[in-house]
Point group: C2
Chain length 321, copies 2
């Protein structure tokens, strides 16, 4: 099969690439071709992958990407929440127009109906929010990013219903611990308050430690994507986007897990520096989601922050501190 | 004040125009200027109204419309459900691109933040549906029309939150009894099975009479729009679209009301002719909505089908059969 990853240069895209190259197949179907796309051509650590630089929202950009009719498209490309809020036009261009252009290109290709895995977000929900958020709860986002993802869910469902594509959307938890450098996501601190202290560096906590949020590791996120690639659409039904499982934890609980794994010295590296603009975004987010449907379909995530930290140490720090 | 009605040639647009001309004001503010827009220039029965032919989704179309900065924009323009289903591209162009172009034009106009009243629909909800549908229920439409309206709600809320426009969305019930000729809406029969027999003509019923649906008269719909034009946005909050009140009734209840008002002879003019394609659309629709928020904000509708039929006789048939 031919797999196309759009937004392959991002953190999840790179981890998914590594996973697919290691597996050599998706759900038992051999990967004969792997195309990695991003606005800047992603680096490939594997000679078999083709790397392409493309802008989905540019004229003809999406059409060119699907010219060779990949069997599986994983669409991860997005401007993150903080940037979609600070740059209104860029957020709509990438997150809405880019997604729609991809769907339109697939629709225009006669007799072509690939599996398309789309990553949505808990940011589609806006307060006041029940805890946990039921699967049938309204999407009234209070960020432009959340608005764009909610629109993506609607388009994905309609294009799937009309038979143009075979879409599955995943409402991802906040991914924690994100490896590497901080990005512009307002959620970045959830990772950095663990990631930096684990290697002896300072980190800034911009919100009170009572903030409760919904988390899963990068390893779980990749597993979600692989599972979504192989699900039977009949089992999903017309509501094509699933709330993914995660761990509901407060920042204080994150910090206590850090203390258990890395000691007081690590915890002392967290500097509290309240940031109103980040707080305003984060307080609109979900403390926990009901993910019953996803659970029935075999999606699972971590059940403690100690486990999330251990995954990070195994996957990013060579297995030990 | 300057009022702009987009989609003014439609049934609701014409009735709203008549109402505004009769009132001469909106919420006590004198109407100094009234601009009526549609793809075909609407006929004006009042010399004071300017009529304009325009296509919102065409380049520059929306910008020209708001050049004179109307204080109130009522955006009614839409391709109806049946047509949006049969002509995928036209539906997205008019219902999504047109609405977005209007919002973008308003955003681009510096220091301009009009009240924008947007008509959404119960078609944003898709089965399985609770009865009544709670106000916080997810929007998972099973028609392209419903998808486009749900996206309109999301855009309206985000543009309002960002301060670009002062939007209020109304999730309208099916409007019954629609006067005039049938249109391409799949819901058309709800009106025609009453409207035609009331004037001695045959009508076709394409669904079983057990179908339950949510209705309000054209007179109520116009009243909803006028009320939305004058609401205090603070009272509405960030969830900018309100489910409108209505009457939940089965087709059998509609027919019994017709019998009470116009007798057995009228009822015998209803010819049952099942239509699978209409049934497939209609069975995805809402039997009833919880409209508590709208009720608190002063929106009201009819409470019996006898009343809905009487409104039609008063407003369309000169007051008697």
């Amino acid at each position: 099969m031919h797999v196309l990853i759009v937004g392959a240069a991002g953190m999840i895209g790179r981890k998914l690439t590594d996973r697919l190259v290691a597996d050599g197949n998706v759900g038992g179907r051999e990967i004969e071709r792997l195309t990695l796309v991003d606005v800047v051509a992603p680096a490939s650590r594997d000679g078999r992958a083709e790397v392409v630089s493309a802008d989905l929202a540019a004229p003809g950009g999406a059409e060119r990407l699907i010219e060779n009719r990949p069997d599986l498209i994983v669409h991860l490309a997005a401007v993150v929440s903080g940037e979609a809020e600070s740059d209104f036009e860029k957020g709509y261009r990438v997150n809405l127009d880019g997604t729609r252009a991809l769907l339109e290109a697939v629709r225009a290709a006669d007799g072509y109906r690939p599996r398309l895995v789309f990553t949505s977000s808990i940011a589609v929900y806006g307060p006041p929010l029940p805890d946990p958020i039921p699967e049938d709860f309204q999407e009234t986002p209070l960020t432009s990013y959340g608005t764009q993802k909610a629109i993506g869910e609607l388009l994905l469902a309609d294009y799937t219903r009309r038979g143009f594509v075979d879409g599955i959307g995943l409402r991802l938890p906040t991914i924690c611990i994100r490896p590497g450098r901080p990005n512009k996501a307002a959620s970045g601190f959830f990772s950095s308050i663990l990631r930096e202290p684990l290697v002896g560096q300072e980190a800034v906590l911009p919100v009170p430690d009572t903030v409760r949020h919904w988390h899963a590791s990068p390893r779980s996120a990749v597993e979600f994507l692989v599972r979504a690639a192989t699900l039977d659409g009949q089992d999903v039904g017309p509501r094509r986007t699933l709330s993914m499982p995660g761990l509901s934890a407060t920042v204080a609980e994150q910090i206590e897990a850090l203390r258990r794994v890395a000691g007081d010295r690590a915890v002392r590296l967290i500097r509290r520096e309240p940031d109103e603009s980040i707080m305003r975004i984060v307080e609109t987010w979900a403390p926990a989601l009901d993910a019953t449907r996803a659970g029935r379909l075999g999606f699972t995530a971590e059940t403690s922050f100690d486990e999330i930290i251990r995954v990070h140490i195994e996957d990013e720090l060579g297995g030990s501190l």
